[in-house]
């Protein structure tokens, strides 16, 4: 059973002369419980695919099916209980004047949860932060702690599908290891499905089961991690990417 089916997805920005086709005819599907990676250089459209799925890129055509539901322009409220996103830069994705408690409380409130108090505590425990971080502001947190808060916020509506847009690229390697371990644990415990964008092939190799290689808005190859480790890419661009990252 696939949780996410994307077929013939096109995403563009601007119009007429200034139109940029960011994603061209992307087709892939992600099975439930799977971890799927999107790799490619900047500007190849990998983040744009995630943004199109969540509804952050308004101009798109093609079909996106999430848990059997065909997506339209307007996302129903239930959609955001299924799909959540973690952004690249934990310094930019948290409101600087909202405490951790406000960030998580507001998210829970918007999703109509009761017992917000106990849920906030539970969320913080789940991402390994604990109670003492509850009333802190983002500037009182390190990059890794902020990313944990961002992950907690994404987990608040209890989604099935988590879209991870370069979740560790702004972090130190030692902190990256902690966050990757946390994401792996959460996926195992909650049966989550990940779609993870990264430019770092070794991170994708560590986290994902299958991955798509993108270039200039197109998916040039979909391969599984065993093939990646064995350096058995077929498309010349994926080969080049592999060679560059070893």
């Amino acid at each position: 059973m696939s949780i996410l089916d994307v077929s013939d997805l096109n995403v563009w920005f601007g119009k007429h002369r200034d139109r940029v086709d960011a994603v061209k005819g992307a087709t892939f599907s992600v099975a439930k419980g799977e971890s799927f990676g999107l790799v490619g250089e900047s500007g190849s459209g990998k983040s744009t695919i995630l943004r199109a799925i969540t509804g952050l890129a308004p101009d798109w055509s093609g079909s996106i099916v999430v848990e059997g539901q065909q997506l339209t322009k307007k996302r129903p409220k239930a959609f955001f209980k299924t799909v959540q996103m973690v952004f690249q830069d934990p310094y930019a994705s948290l409101h600087p004047r909202h405490s951790v408690d406000q960030v998580l409380g507001e998210t829970l409130h918007l999703h109509g949860f009761k017992e917000i108090d106990s849920r906030v505590v539970k969320l913080l425990d789940d991402v390994g932060l604990g109670q003492k971080f509850r009333f802190r502001y983002p500037h009182q947190l390190s990059g890794g702690q902020r990313q944990r808060v961002a992950i907690a916020r994404a987990l608040a509506p209890e989604p099935d599908l988590l879209l991870l847009d370069e979740p560790t690229s702004a972090l130190d390697v030692s902190v990256q290891a902690e966050i990757l371990n946390l994401l792996a644990d959460l996926r195992r415990d909650r049966g989550l499905t990940y779609v993870m964008v990264s430019h770092d092939l070794s991170v994708v190799g560590h986290m994902c089961d299958r991955l798509a290689v993108m270039k200039d808005g197109e998916i040039v190859e979909i391969l599984d991690v065993a093939a990646l480790r064995a350096m058995k890419a077929t498309h010349p661009y994926s080969k080049h990417l592999l060679e560059a990252s070893v």
Partner: protein, 286 residues
Amino acid sequence: MMSTLLDVQNLWVKFPTRNGVFDAVRGVSFTLGRERLGIVGESGSGKSMTGRAILRLIRPPGIVEADQISLEGVDLMNLSEKDMRAVRGQRISMVMQDPKFSLNPVMTIGDQIIEAYRLHSSASKSEAYNKSLEMLEAVSIRDAERVMRAYPHEMSGGMGQRIMIAMMLIPNPEILIADEPTSALDVSVQRQVLDIMDKLVKERGMGLIFISHDLNLVADFCDRVLIMYAGRVVEVCDANKLHEAKHPYTRGLLNSLPRLDAPRDRLEVLERDPEWSEAPSVSGRI
């Protein structure tokens, strides 16, 4: 024995705070010849501060103290601000971490590069224009003429960083301090940019201080590496022997990296030992 371009002895950078003085850099010493010297460490380890202190870019209330920072025999610590300005850009230039904050958002890229060039040389406008185009092409930017007319917000991070590198190399400095020049770039572009820098360093006989958090990159690219932790240099080694490093901090960093050829279920998490930050700096002087 290669000639020494830069000699840094016992460099301290301090910031007074409400809770007492915070030492960002603590007694760092190293020399730089015509070589590629890597400085690695995590955020907050003082590696960027070291780079900035050399250019005297740390403003009050920050305090810089050093026995000496000498550039070919001249102690930069004793220069006037006016003389220092002649050093910055022309003799030592620096590529900063984030192109978004280091390019002027309301000036076209062409104008910025031309300005950088003409500040340090008496070239005519058209000469400067051609030189800028050439430099942009040298950092493998396609469609350089369009880029010259564009504003920074129209550029991707990778392009912005290459533009910065072009701008910093155009006055032909003796020393280039590159502060995480490629961390915003893709692996495939990273290689290109490094190759460009490598070529320029070799051809022009420049000294390069390469500040990065990426151990593998540094091991690959540099000649010598200083590993910094909490403002101190904890280990100095030859880059090609980095993987045989002995200090537990270096080992921990190396082990926390995911690897394509050696899959693991869980990544190792670095356990910090307070002793690491107490031990005195290791000297990187030759």
